[in-house]
Amino acid sequence: MNLKRVVITGAGVISPLGNEVHSFIEGLETGKSAVRYMEEWRGYTGMRSHVAAPAELKDERKIPRQSRRSMGRMSIFAVQASEQAIADSGITPADMSSGRTGCIIGSTMGSAKSINDVFETMLPAKDLSNLSSSMFFQCMAHTAAANVAQYLGLTGYIMASAAACASSLQAVGTAYDLIRLGRQDIFLCGGAEELHPTVTGSFDILYATSVKYNQTPQKTPRPFDKDRDGLVCGEGSGILVLEEYEHAVCRNAKIYAEITGYSTCGSGSHMSQSDKQSMIHCMNETLHCAQITPGQIDYISAHATGTQQGDTEEAAAIREVFGGSAPVSSLKGYIGHTLGASGAIELIASLIMMKKGLIYPTLNLTEVGSDCRGIKHVTELTPKKINTFLKNCFAFGGINASLICRKMEAIND
């Protein structure tokens, strides 16, 4: 079968460092941390982690009320990031209503605040009388994808990937596969997530959150560092426009990169513990898909969230596949772990790194943990020509995903 080529032609971001790609990148480049102390979370008994990286919800009233009413916080982020990505790509309303443009947006679940609000309204007296019409549309698992598709009038494939922290990379990877197969010409794809104490709490009860830096929030999370003590939740949305190569060339589109490899797999071993062997398998399958060797990867955007066990396993997996050949950094120190949005947000950052020839280092990595050595950590802003990079996401549920992008001008090298 003759598979199509797939390129990235647009990007949009709502992040804890800013509500567009430019401010997000400026924050990374200047080494800013968006992590802050969450005073309001002190009211939750048993919550040990009081740090998070919030994004700013703004300009939501620009979305007409009857469209906005079905959107929780995360769907508003997704719509705003999608509008940026569309404007960046130059695709037209005719493209969007052609039936050949789809939408895949992932998240861990529906809007956490909306879900909480429904139960707070309904459960005290077990009374449904005061539930509003749109709460279900904010709570459903495909809320971000459905809201974006309805708001923009998309009529192609509309899907939602729900794989916790791998959700948005699976969304991009699935869009890549569907365009390769010729099912669609264009996809809006990525992920969205929102902060809520119940979200951080779900990690906190598993001892996976950072708890030692409540009074010095900008020192955490600390991916790969010897003093790392867990993850910090963030929020936002990252949306990319994926497009069939010839379609993009025909309309003279700006092309960020070609996606040349993708793979996803399950660990089959544990619900919450990361697994080195399945990570290795996932990265190797992605390299195989891209038909390249480990030595051809110029940069690895690690999943590394700052948890003890997750970072140990990812470092070991990268060490086994790449040795010390490829520079590695994690962006969680800047924006926390944006969970279902992290893959897409960090993929966009990696595309900008590729464009600028610059690697953003792992913030808060001051001394590499003994279990994370043997890979090429980037600890300062580093100029580097990047022709090809690998993005990793590893999620609860034992779900792994990796994706490889290649610079367009390097395609025919």
Binding site: R65, Q66, R69, S129, N130, L131, S132, S133, S134
Partner: protein, 87 residues
């Protein structure tokens, strides 16, 4: 509760819940064609009126007959009078 209070509270629901400018809130305004509400909004209108007036109207058949703001004023007024009569 006076008729004027019913008008003010109802209009406040339309301003706050449905973001409609006060100038458009005339008694003869049709809630679908003039004010732009749709079938989902009617569910939210019922919830908002229940909260604002402390009444339970979700299962009232007469809700289906509401077309204008004046219909709502009359509907709430009738319910409030029934409440008073029962007391």
């Amino acid at each position: 509760m006076t008729e004027q209070e019913i008008v003010e509270i109802t209009n406040k629901v339309f301003e706050e819940s449905f973001e409609i400018e006060r100038e458009k809130l005339t008694p003869d305004a049709h809630i679908f064609t003039d004010l732009g509400l749709d079938s989902l909004d009617i569910v939210d209108l019922v919830v908002a009126l229940q909260k604002s007036f402390g009444v339970m109207i979700r299962n009232e058949e007469k809700v289906r007959d509401i077309r204008t703001l004046q219909d709502i004023y009359n509907f709430i007024s009738a319910i409030k009078k029934e409440e008073t009569a029962k007391k």
